[in-house]
């Protein structure tokens, strides 16, 4: 059972308790909750949108949805999952408005690269800066579903079940998307 208030030890309160407190009008609970998740959410959106302006817009819109839905929040779901689900839905909507989804041909190309032999893969040691740049570009080149799944796994540490809940897909589908994303990134490092 969740405590009704979490003011005395706000740092020790769970996300759900803080959200419930904010649902009762405690603005300080929201501040604590925002401090905890502002970076991960923003990065998730930034990875998702690839544009800072879109990420800022989605970030503000995500928190606005949280504030509007504060009284309807029920702690059955994990707050992080609920928050990322909102952000993901908004990002999907934005991407659907901006550009079309990656086609199946692109996905086949990524799998082919992953299945390439090690001799065909670049073996030179890249500098750390070059590695981060390549990873950055690899993430940007990933399809949205795969990138979302990869970011949710790497950035937010979600498991297959949680990623499936956020994205609204099945666990096997999430696992497949993660597999493809992982293969494409490895292929980019091999270049």
């Amino acid at each position: 059972m969740y405590r009704l208030t979490c003011r005395p030890m706000r740092a020790e309160c769970t996300d759900e308790e803080l959200m419930l407190a904010y649902g009762r009008g405690d603005a300080h609970a929201f501040e604590a909750l925002y401090t905890r998740h502002r970076g991960t959410l923003y990065r998730f959106l930034l990875r998702h949108c690839r544009e800072r302006a879109s990420a800022d817009e989605l970030f503000q819109e995500t928190w606005s949805r949280v504030t509007v839905a504060r009284e309807r929040y029920r702690p059955e779901a994990k707050f992080t999952t609920w928050l990322l689900q909102i952000a993901h839905n908004l990002a999907i909507d934005l991407m659907r408005r901006n550009r079309p989804q990656a086609g199946s041909e692109e996905t086949e190309l990524v799998f082919r690269q992953l299945d390439a032999p090690e001799t065909e893969r670049p073996d030179r040691v890249l500098s750390e800066f070059e590695q981060r740049r390549r990873l950055q570009r690899a993430l940007e080149d990933l399809p949205d579903e795969q990138r979302n799944a990869f970011v949710l796994r790497m950035e937010n540490g979600l498991g297959l079940e949680e990623i499936a809940e956020v994205t609204g897909a099945g666990q096997e589908t999430v696992k497949s998307r993660l597999r493809y994303a992982f293969a494409k990134i490895r292929a980019r490092f091999a270049e």
């Binding site: 970076g39 990065r43 750390e128």
Partner: protein
């Protein structure tokens, strides 16, 4: 040699299990982008604005629950003031309307409650009275008026009176009785007197009781002679306290002398010695007549004085009566005046005393009236130019009804006295 696909699969499994890998380490080194301060402020402001009405409502609800509204306090205060004013107004009106009658009733009730009505026990002057009391009875009667009547004296202690002397005394008594009846005809106590009047009469009764007892003793000693009328007259309750309070000392002495059998007249002349000579007998008759008229005048003078006194003085008349009468001492030189003056003086004094008795009777009647009626009577007296009587009535009214509010015009009359 491991298959590259199996190698990637193991790495992928490690990735799914969250194991530390080169990719994870490299991902954490990516730029940790965060929202800028403007975005943070906008989000926080949005969040606060979303909950502000809710917080205001919560605070308002708490205030309504814990604080009493001001309009309720003001309304309660106003209601309290109106209630207090109404009560004070009602009490004031009620006091003005019923203060005088209530206080008057309470005063009369207190008078009736505190004063025990005593009716004077006056033994009737029977023709065949028992033997006369002993010679010391009048003295006892004059000092202890309230004491019960002394036991009848022994007949052997009384001396028989001569017939001539009896006739003279009877003549004098008849003259006295005639004058008393003519002057006091208006002063009879009404049969239906109110309790306070009965109280006054009863209070004044002890002063008349010595006379009554003296007359009774004389009547008993003379056994149905003409002196019985004098005794009966003296035994009658005095109608007015002032009159009743003044003892007729000449009569007392005479009656005491008669009762004692010394047979001396008012002037110390031995009756027995005077009755021996016919000339002396005639002179004695004239003296008796003069003394009778003088005695009456003296009584009237002493009566007129207490009439001008206040009611309270009349109520304490018995104590005054116990003092030596000035009028009696003043009447003694007058008795020595020439007979011509004596013959004119009774007529004048009789008229004055008649007016005084009438005024006292009227005062007594007015005392039985209600205060308002009494005030009307006082105003009538003022219209009749009887200012002294009006003042006397007014003062008696104030003493009898101390709580009665005297009208302003009569209050001025009282002050101008």
């Amino acid at each position: 040699m491991t298959h590259p696909r199996n190698h990637h699969e193991r790495e992928f499994e490690a990735f799914l299990a969250g194991e530390e890998s080169e990719l994870a380490r490299l991902y954490r080194r990516l730029p940790q982008s965060e929202p800028d301060a403007r975005l943070d402020a906008a989000v926080l402001a949005l969040a606060r604005a979303a909950v502000e009405p809710q917080r205001v409502n919560a605070l308002r609800h708490a205030n309504v629950r814990h604080r009493r509204p001001l309009w309720l306090v003001a309304l309660s205060s106003a209601a309290g003031v109106v209630l207090a004013t109404g009560i004070a107004w009602q009490m004031r009106n009620g006091f003005n309307e019923s203060a005088a009658p209530t206080l008057q009733q309470s005063a009369s009730a207190r008078t009736e409650r505190d004063v025990i009505p005593i009716s004077a026990i006056v033994p009737p002057a029977e023709p065949a009275a028992p033997p006369a009391p002993p010679p010391e009875a009048p003295a006892i009667a004059s000092t202890t008026a309230a004491m019960p009547a002394p036991p009848p004296a022994k007949p052997a202690s009384l001396k028989p009176k001569a017939p001539a002397q009896r006739r003279e005394v009877e003549l004098a008594a008849a003259i006295d009785a005639k004058k008393d009846n003519s002057l006091r005809s208006d002063d009879r106590v009404p049969a239906d007197t109110s309790p306070p009047e009965r109280v006054a009469a009863a209070t004044a009764q002890p002063s008349a009781e010595p006379l009554a007892r003296a007359g009774l003793a004389e009547a008993e000693s003379t056994k149905g002679s003409g002196v019985d009328k004098l005794a009966a007259d003296a035994a009658q309750p005095q109608p007015f306290p002032g009159t009743a309070g003044v003892p007729d000392y000449n009569s007392v002495e005479r009656k005491a002398a008669i009762a004692s059998g010394s047979r001396r007249d008012d002037y110390g002349v031995d009756v027995d010695a005077a009755s021996a000579d016919p000339l002396a007998k005639q002179e004695q008759r004239a003296r008796v007549a003069r003394s009778a008229s003088k005695e009456k005048r003296t009584v009237e003078e002493t009566t007129a004085r207490p009439q001008s006194a206040s009611g309270a003085e009349r109520q304490v008349a018995p104590s005054i009566a116990a003092a030596p009468p000035v009028a009696a001492s003043a009447a003694a030189p007058a008795a020595e005046a020439p007979p011509a003056n004596v013959s004119q003086a009774p007529a004048h004094s009789d008229a004055a005393s008649a007016v005084g008795n009438a005024a006292s009777a009227e005062l007594k009647r007015n005392a039985t009236l209600a205060p308002d009626e009494w005030i009307k009577r006082i105003r009538e007296l003022l219209r009749q130019e009887r200012r002294a009587d009006a003042l006397e009535n007014l003062e008696l009214l104030r003493r009898k009804h101390p709580t009665y509010v005297v009208p302003a015009d009569l209050r001025d009359l009282r002050d101008l006295r």
